[in-house]
């Protein structure tokens, strides 16, 4: 799908990685949830994070837009390079609020529970962040919002409120909301786990379309077949470490990796 809008997404051109995470460490209290995770997501590619419940998948994903702040390590995301460390008082340092907001405008997220704003219409949900955060005029934001609602097949429900939509429809609106920021990186945390089985495919279909379009995406999912099909890179997380990673072909050919995949695949 090509876009007619001037500010629409630029398909893959550079070979620079969109995301480099280096030796990320994250604790919750005494629990070390990420134990030095390093990850490259090249521009225009899809990486899926898989792993058992509690292995730190969501935490890793949430570090990418700093909903969780790593205790240590480095992140380079879309021209922002951040190094996390502790000062002598033990506070985590390495980030100011401006930088945080700039980064979050470039890395947007689709949540398991959709998290749409119930008091805003479908279109209202999609144009809110472009207007508030990117300071676009309502007119420009609306043009952008309509474009992406069209893209996810929800343009005809633009004036509906989220509570009147099915889960699959809500998730597609949430994807349009994330796209309307024209991010450099899209994050998905189990985007189909809260859906009725018959609604899963409509959402996976949209995500597959985005992958074909060359969007840079980082995806946490339990849908192994889907991950295998759409991903350029699979990352298997085991108790806060990357136990295995590579192209789907590599991962499924490697006997050591396959042992992890076996229960899921």
């Amino acid at each position: 799908m090509t876009s007619s809008l001037q500010h629409a997404f630029r398909p893959r051109s550079s070979t620079a990685p969109a995301v480099v995470a280096n030796q990320l460490i994250k604790h919750f209290g005494d629990l070390e949830v990420l134990k030095g995770v390093s990850l490259d997501v090249p521009e225009g590619t899809v990486t899926s994070i898989i792993g058992a419940s509690g292995s730190g998948k969501s935490t890793l994903l949430r570090c990418m837009n700093l909903l969780e702040r790593p205790d240590q390590g480095e992140l380079a995301i879309a021209d922002e390079a951040i190094r996390f460390d502790r000062n002598p008082q033990g506070d985590i340092i390495g980030l100011d609020r401006r930088q945080l907001q700039r980064l979050r405008a470039k890395v947007t997220m689709v949540f398991q529970q959709f998290n749409l704003w119930p008091h805003l219409t479908v279109l209202g949900n999609v144009i809110e962040a472009p207007m508030r955060v990117k300071k676009l005029s309502r007119k420009r934001a609306t043009a952008l919002g309509e474009h992406y609602l069209e893209r996810v097949g929800m343009a005809d429900r633009r004036d509906a409120y989220p509570a009147f939509l099915s889960g699959g429809q809500q998730q597609r609106v949430a994807i349009a909301r994330a796209l309307a920021m024209e991010p450099r990186l899209l994050l998905f945390d189990e985007p189909t786990s809260a859906l009725d089985p018959e609604r899963v495919n409509e959402v996976l279909g949209v995500i597959r379309g985005l992958a074909d379009e060359g969007r840079t995406m980082l995806l946490v999912t339990h849908e192994m077949h889907f991950a295998r099909e759409v991903s350029d890179q699979l990352v298997y997380l085991d108790q806060g470490n990357i136990a295995c990673s590579g192209t789907p072909e590599e991962v499924f050919a490697d006997p050591r990796c396959r042992q992890f995949m076996a229960p899921a695949a």
């Binding site: 837009n65 907001q101 959709f114 998290n115 119930p118 508030r132």
Partner: protein, 235 residues
């Protein structure tokens, strides 16, 4: 006010209406300020900074724990004295009418704010955390997050309590009469006493209060329909 011939309501219609107007003015202003105090109080109570939390807790707990009539008397005399002193200091002594109105508003607002703090705190806590997280994830500023997501998100939860507090406030304005300020209830008392038509005037007062509360209840019902526009009506 000198005694009048018991010609009844007609003679007193003017003063009573003006008293009613004063009551509405006091109530509206006190409510607006109370809303603001309540938002600040709720914000402080939910703040990560302990001294601020403590201050807000002390405010809402103490005010709600003392009878309102007593509070009004205490705050009125303390407040009036402070204001008088201030005006005297500024060389504007004698503006007692202004002090009376301002203290009445201030006292009622201060009490409202304490109750409003609790209403708002509960309403904010009831917002599903995912909605706030989404605002954070998209890089909203604190102000945008507050007025675009938190405020409209909590209103459906807060409005029933807010409407309740408004009704209580209208009725609380009558307490102001104990300190002799010329609002509706005070005027009615004077009319009743001077004409000796007690039942007539108190009944008239009842009707006026009823009109005020009923019309505002209708207004709140409309407001509630509006803030719940995104929610399917529960049958």
């Amino acid at each position: 006010m000198t005694s009048m011939t018991p010609e009844g309501l007609i003679d007193w219609a003017g003063p009573i209406l003006s008293g009613a107007l004063t009551t509405v003015q006091i109530a509206v202003l006190a409510y607006a300020i109370g809303l603001l105090l309540g938002l600040l109080g709720a914000g402080a109570k939910l703040s990560p900074w302990a001294p601020l939390r403590g201050l807000a807790t002390a405010y809402s707990t103490l005010i709600r724990a003392v009878p309102e009539l007593l509070l009004i008397l205490l705050l009125y005399y303390a407040g009036a004295q402070a204001l008088d002193a201030l005006l005297a200091y500024l060389g504007m002594a004698g503006a007692v009418q202004i002090t009376g109105f301002a203290t009445a508003v201030g006292v009622l607002a201060f009490v409202q704010g304490a109750y409003m703090t609790e209403v708002f705190r509960g309403a904010i806590l009831a917002i599903p955390s995912g909605q706030l997280e989404a605002a954070d994830a998209f890089g909203f500023s604190r102000w945008d997050r507050f007025h675009r997501i938190v405020l409209p998100g909590m209103l459906p939860n807060a409005l029933p309590g807010m409407s309740n507090l408004w009704l209580i406030l209208i009725k609380d304005t009558a307490l102001i009469s104990v300190i002799g300020f010329n609002e509706l209830f005070f005027t009615i008392q004077q009319a009743a006493a001077s004409s000796r038509a007690y039942f007539l005037f108190y009944a008239a007062a009842g009707v006026i209060y009823l009109l005020m509360t009923l019309s505002s209840t209708a207004l709140f019902a409309r407001l509630e329909r509006y803030v719940r526009r995104g929610q399917p009506t529960e049958a």
